[in-house]
Symmetry: C2
Amino acid sequence: MTALFRISTLLTLVLFPAVGSAEDQQIATVRQKLEQQYGATTQRIMRETLKGNEAWQKMHELCDGIGFRLSGSPGLEEAIDWAIASMKKDGQENCRREKVMIPKWTRGKEWARMESPRKFDIHMLGLGMSVGTPPEGITAPVVVVHDEESFAKASDQMKGKFVLFNNPMPEYTEERGACYGHTVRFRYGGPALAAEKGAVGCLVRSVTARSLRSPHTGSTGYQDDIPKIPAAAISTEDADMIQRLTDQGQEVTITLKMDAKNHGMVPSANVIAEYVGREKPEEIVIISGHIDAWDVGHGAHDDGGGCVMAMEAINVLRKLKLRPRRTIRVVLWTNEENGQEGAKQYALDHANELANHVAAIESDSGVFQPQGFSVQHIDPAKGKIAEENLAHFFALMNRPGLTKIKSGWSGADISHIKHGELPLMGLIVEGSTYFDYHHTHADTLDKVDPKDLTDCVATLAAISYLLAEIPGRLDEPLFPDPSLN
Amino acid sequence: MTALFRISTLLTLVLFPAVGSAEDQQIATVRQKLEQQYGATTQRIMRETLKGNEAWQKMHELCDGIGFRLSGSPGLEEAIDWAIASMKKDGQENCRREKVMIPKWTRGKEWARMESPRKFDIHMLGLGMSVGTPPEGITAPVVVVHDEESFAKASDQMKGKFVLFNNPMPEYTEERGACYGHTVRFRYGGPALAAEKGAVGCLVRSVTARSLRSPHTGSTGYQDDIPKIPAAAISTEDADMIQRLTDQGQEVTITLKMDAKNHGMVPSANVIAEYVGREKPEEIVIISGHIDAWDVGHGAHDDGGGCVMAMEAINVLRKLKLRPRRTIRVVLWTNEENGQEGAKQYALDHANELANHVAAIESDSGVFQPQGFSVQHIDPAKGKIAEENLAHFFALMNRPGLTKIKSGWSGADISHIKHGELPLMGLIVEGSTYFDYHHTHADTLDKVDPKDLTDCVATLAAISYLLAEIPGRLDEPLFPDPSLN
């Protein structure tokens, strides 16, 4: 039985609580009890948030006011200071930096040009963490491959050349989603694959299904025993053109010039702020996003939205004076994009209190209509309980479209505490356009619908309140009475 | 009665020819006669074209092989030579250049940057024919307006500043179309409006409803008695950001740097090729597109597709050995984008034979599913006859979706012969995405669906054959027998 099927069953039972099996009866009773205890408050949180909140103003300050905030840049540290000041102003408690050493990589000047059969500018963005080229650039012919099979076939022709990994992202569908995880594999792994075969540079088709000549950057990786070669994403249009030319038997030669540099580790910080719990302040519910963003676009969807949702969710609760039983901790992770050092450091620094973390939420899929949560748990049985309880919460919240519960992945940052015995939850939002903007110059505030932002804040405020307020933990039976569970 | 309504009536009559009024009976009889005389050949043209043709290869050679072809550039002259050589190779007759003097404008290096409240690159493209800035650029505050009313209101604050015309293009709908004509008015007229109020530069929101930080260039204009100020299009994202900042009371300062230059007139040419008529070679049906394109993107939709459709339409007919009664003349206009000197010169050079032009078609709305034709005629009564006859042709062609007939506009080039007594026809294609690519870096071959290209070639081949083959002209009754008309 899939989680989705379970939910639809459960939702049906809300509508027809009087009929069905003993199990159905039990669910109906839990729902009734939840409704009695938390219904009015949950509805109030949603209603008041939807009436008006300060999330859009926060987005404006972060995206239009600061914008770029790549790890190691002044913009990132400014954004961290801004977030702390903003939450202090909102009256949050324990607002602070928690120091993290993070990698500093700079893009520098960069360009690419097709030299033959025709001189054309190639629209590109160097990949994050890539090495640069010599000052004069690298000029070499291109070998085009699509997948592992075509790579293997052409691997004896790569010496001294560029390898272009031209694997297209398929169109988004509701069923299969965006296929990001699958498509992105060459962006991270391509340089080592190509260098091992003697290539002098690596080009990767941008990971997107839609493009207006828009290159998409992102992190790349190397292997210690294989030479590090420069790596860049090129627009899907340029990849298609090179493909068409080579398909017609023409040799395509390209110059790639990148001043990219790795500068080692520099200090940064995770941002922490809290709404301290009234009964069990030591027990913690994390709500989080990552404060760093690429050095293109203004990180509106990735992940300004995730940060602002968390900041505004506790702001809403505090304004409503709904101090919950446990502490809600906002964490704005540093360096998600190219290292996740923020999350790693948090796992180290907070190892002793990890047992007191009762749940952690990350929002890092953009600001669109909220649809549900993914759930990751070290203990599958407890994960299942968490999912069932989430379905009860959704019934209580009664928001149109909020129905999805998926097992497995949660979020890039919180998955660094996956050794902890807590449910890790990723906010699922409508996903059809996120990867159009992801890691591009186009990730700007105009792409965010204020209504969606408010919906996300309301969802996060209500869920985090419930997680921090219910007597037990999300991954435990909701009510102690054994006849109910 | 609208043209569309007329067509749907006529199409109904094809299905039920035996019932209806005397007028309906007459239409049914015309259709039957058309079907008897031209049905098999028309169907054969469509069928054989759809089976396979060389249009895609021609698009590849033009877009991937030459690309940029702005007026005055070596690329344009190369494209002209290529088109002539290509049509000669296909066996077309009278392939030639017809000399035209056209303006040469070069973009040079250009950039824009927001200086305050935050340093951000502005994604921009200088407008074609704009003057440049001083070498150090122009730095000034920005006044944002949306329309004539807000312009008038703010006109006393423009001295020494940039004016940003931030009027958004609405989303495309089937009913209202793209609203290009309305939205583009400030791109052409903005600089003179702003300069008259003392502005030092003009910024225009890119004319598009969808953007991935994609500036859209295009021609701009000046007035003789008003100072010429530099003008650039900025991305909708940047326009929105400046709007949000000024809405919050912040002063936005921008530096614009453009090395744009006008170099006066240089020689170029319209491209001509013919399938000479077997009975009335002196009577001419023009099929046309424009061979010039902007210096960004590869002019795939605008208007490589229009050129290639015309080139391939006569290629298809010649291969089928269907030499028509009259001459089909392919014209590839030079300098449509920033002057239309090609069309103007043609009107002068061919003034004496204009009376022998029986119809002219232009395709300049991109390569998408063909839906019909717009019809422009100096004589409304004759225009009406042309529209009715076109509806008969559509019935004969029986292509799904080919149903639209609109009165009024035809095409930018052929409208320069609107003083002639001939029907001017613009190919109408599905229009929901054309302006996403229009005048941008993204107007590349990948945006063209080969199936749509083939559909357009088939439509153009069949229509131009019929125009050149029927005994009378399109704007005359189809059959001489008065009882039938």
